[in-house]
């Protein structure tokens, strides 16, 4: 059976979640693998959320926030961006390919871009194959 990745996505309420809603209202089709979790701001995405998701079996994690300058809370997306770069380095040390974590800006009007992004990201995770970290964690515990 072909590998079907599991993808967890954190979307900010104001831009990206609304953008994903727009993809829906526009009836755009995209890969089913994504599971969306809403936070008020991408700045709320705690590193723990990302690490726990990997630990529990996510093969890829997609974070989306408002475009620079458009954050509903002024600058939460910049906080997210800084954390993202650190997290990428960190997960690499833990044996998770950094490509499994991705951040992109999606505005409330970018339903099409969101649908395309999901397909692109799902494709890249499919190529990477399943994440091994869940197995590792299970073996260790």
């Amino acid at each position: 059976m072909e590998f079907e990745p599991t993808i967890v996505s954190f979307l900010c309420n104001w831009c990206s979640y609304t953008g994903a809603d727009l993809a829906g209202t526009s009836r755009l089709k995209y890969a089913h693998n994504i599971r969306i979790i809403r936070t008020m701001c991408s700045g709320r995405v705690d590193p723990t959320f990302v690490l726990e998701s990997f630990k529990k079996g996510a093969d890829g994690i997609l974070i989306c926030g408002c475009h620079p300058g458009d954050c509903h809370y002024h600058e939460g997306n910049y906080k997210c961006l800084r954390r993202y770069h650190l997290l990428k380095k960190y997960i690499k040390q833990m044996g998770i390919e950094p490509e499994r974590l991705h951040l992109e800006w999606i505005s409330a009007s970018e339903g099409k871009q969101f649908a395309e992004l999901v397909d692109r990201f799902t494709g890249s995770i499919r190529e990477l194959g399943p994440s091994r970290i869940k197995e590792v964690v299970n073996t260790l515990s």
Partner: protein
């Protein structure tokens, strides 16, 4: 802790969800999950009987948590929270799983879609277990209103609110009120004098004691929140502090600059003018070429910058009917002139417009159709032998022939663009913009004047190209919304603010450095951070920064989101293995 008793409701949304998701299967599957007392599927959860179902179940089954799996929480979260309140439950003991916008509408595979729906509902069930009762907070509304932009929308909204006896600050960037509409000669399709119409309105504004007009003024910064905003403007060199409870943004539009379209030679050939410049001619009472001759051939080109992938995809909505107005006015002023309307599609919509189109077509006006995507008409200077100043060459779509048309005057129906101040003001007021820099309303159908920022409303062409009647209607709607909040006197606000656990706080003050609202201060005596819940907007950035987990973003706590992740992945994994 009390026993958790959850009711789960899976909505069909008619066929919108049920077609792609096996809703009964979802309900059956999640009913077996821990803490779930009852799980049902129903045709329309948001309908009155749907809500009554929840209310009666809460009473009958002593439910203390509810999960509705339906559309986006951005649409119906409040509806269901109210239903919980009716049943005597705290409205925050509720969670929604979005299986319409995020599942049924975007996927093709029914089996996968059902599987995804199950994991989203399982996640919501896990999350709602950790929800807590939050007490609503209400803030008093300052009865004054700030209106940014003194065009027809701003003026209308100002008068509406001032006539109700409330204070209005009407701020206009330029030296006079009236905006774009005041640059027009007559309205279309019913030929009213805009000058008279606007002047009468401006007089009313100027003489209304409840309206303070601030010309040559811009809003640079804004602080506060719904009910209590503050800004400082400069008036005659003095700083003036304004306090108000609501804001209506009516900054209007900008006309497209056609010089970027080479075919039309705007700025090169003197008698190629924009619709706006032609309005100036009409206002001055003469239609003539730059050198003062009466044009014998007048061409009107539609969709200049509109409905064209290179410039703007959207339709500017006003141009067709104005172009028809021009044909009529040229015909009246110069009975013998040849008049050409070059259009891509005739889209004169609205009351009286189709009638204007048919009247115009009987006035010896030549309608020529061109294809927006396969070459625009091309204007060139006429040769010495031609009996005209310019020649317009185009592929006429209906006849399928390439033709040449004489012209002495060409009117370009320029597109409507977002105002050049739109981006800056979006940042100042916190309003979202679409890709074309028009402001986005809270909901395109159900909430077309509010924005995603509480207390900030939009009206007029800053939201999308609009004619005068639509702008006036929207301005009055925005004014009505503002008056509603004013007459209520106070408003309930989100209580999903951050909270500090003083026992856990180590006093590192990292939270203070990341808070965009300076809502967190440091209590030197106790050596802990303190959140001012009036200033806190609940973004949760502090929560994800706090190294000791002392700050909780209420309703988006670590525990709630981590349980959601758990539910999501456990269910996904379990279903995958099956």
């Amino acid at each position: 802790m009390e026993e958790v008793r959850i009711g789960v409701y899976v909505c069909w949304c008619g066929n919108n969800i049920a077609k792609m998701v096996d809703v009964q299967d979802v309900a059956m599957e999640v009913e077996t999950l821990p803490n779930v007392v009852i799980a049902r599927d129903y045709k329309y959860m948001c309908s009155d009987p749907g809500q009554d179902l929840i209310i009666s179940d809460i009473k009958k089954h002593r439910l203390n948590r509810v999960v509705v799996s339906a559309c986006s929480p951005r649409i119906h979260e409040l509806t269901f929270r109210k239903a919980l309140e009716h049943a005597g439950l705290n409205p925050y003991m509720f969670e929604m799983a979005n299986i319409r916008e995020h599942v049924s509408w975007v996927h093709n595979d029914r089996e996968e879609a059902t599987r995804k729906a199950k994991s989203l509902v399982a996640a919501a069930i896990n999350r709602v277990c950790w929800h807590e009762s939050l007490e609503k907070r209400s803030v008093e509304i300052n009865p004054a209103t700030l209106i940014i932009g003194g065009g027809i929308s701003g003026i209308t909204a100002a008068l509406e609110i001032a006539d109700a006896g409330k204070q209005v600050y009407l701020v206009e960037k330029s030296a006079q009120l009236g905006g774009f509409a005041s640059k027009m000669c007559l309205t279309s399709p019913f030929m009213y004098s805009t000058t008279q119409m606007i002047r009468a309105k401006i007089n009313k504004v100027m003489n209304n004691p409840n309206i303070q007009v601030l010309l040559n003024t811009q809003i640079e910064e804004l602080s506060g929140y719904l009910g209590n905003f503050t800004t400082t403007v400069s008036e005659d060199g003095r700083d003036l502090e304004l306090k108000f409870g609501n804001i209506i943004v009516t900054i209007g539009l900008k006309a497209f600059d056609p010089s970027v379209i080479e075919n039309y030679k705007y700025g090169i050939l003197p008698d190629v003018v924009t619709s706006l410049e032609f309005e100036g001619m009409l206002k001055a009472g003469k239609i003539e070429t730059r050198d003062g001759r009466i044009p014998r051939h007048v061409a009107v080109i539609h969709c200049v910058g509109s409905r064209n992938a290179t410039y703007h995809d959207y339709c500017s909505r006003l141009c067709c009917k104005n172009a028809l107005k021009y044909a009529n006015m040229v015909r009246a002023a110069i009975p013998g002139a040849n008049i050409f309307e070059m259009y891509a599609d005739m889209r004169a919509m609205g009351n009286g417009c189709e009638e204007l189109y048919s009247v115009t077509s009987k006035k010896n006006v030549m309608f020529l159709m061109f294809d927006q995507h396969n070459g625009l008409p091309e204007i060139r200077k006429a040769g010495p032998k031609d009996n005209c100043d310019m020649i317009i060459e185009l592929d006429e779509k209906l006849s399928g022939e390439r033709i040449e048309v004489p012209a002495d005057l060409v009117i370009l129906m320029v597109a409507i663009e977002a105002h050049e101040e739109a981006k800056r003001l979006a940042q100042v007021t916190g309003v979202s913009m679409c890709g074309n820099q028009f402001f986005i309303e809270r909901h395109p159908k159900l909430d077309p004047v509010a924005t995603t920022t509480d207390g900030v409303y939009v009206a007029g062409s800053c939201q999308a190209p609009k004619d005068i009647p639509d702008s006036v209607a929207q301005a009055r709607a925005a004014a009505a919304r503002v008056l509603c909040t004013i007459s209520k006197g106070n408003v309930e606000v989100e209580v999903t603010t951050a909270e500090v656990n003083e026992d856990r706080c180590c006093g590192c003050q990292t939270c203070i450095s990341v808070c965009p609202y300076t809502a967190i201060t440091f209590d030197e005596e106790k050596s802990v951070s303190v959140v001012n819940e009036v200033l806190c907007k609940g973004c949760g950035t502090c929560g994800s920064t706090c190294p000791t987990g002392a700050i909780r973003a209420q309703h988006f706590t670590d525990l709630q989101i981590l349980s959601q992740i758990d539910g999501l992945l456990e269910k996904s994994m379990e279903l995958k293995e099956v």
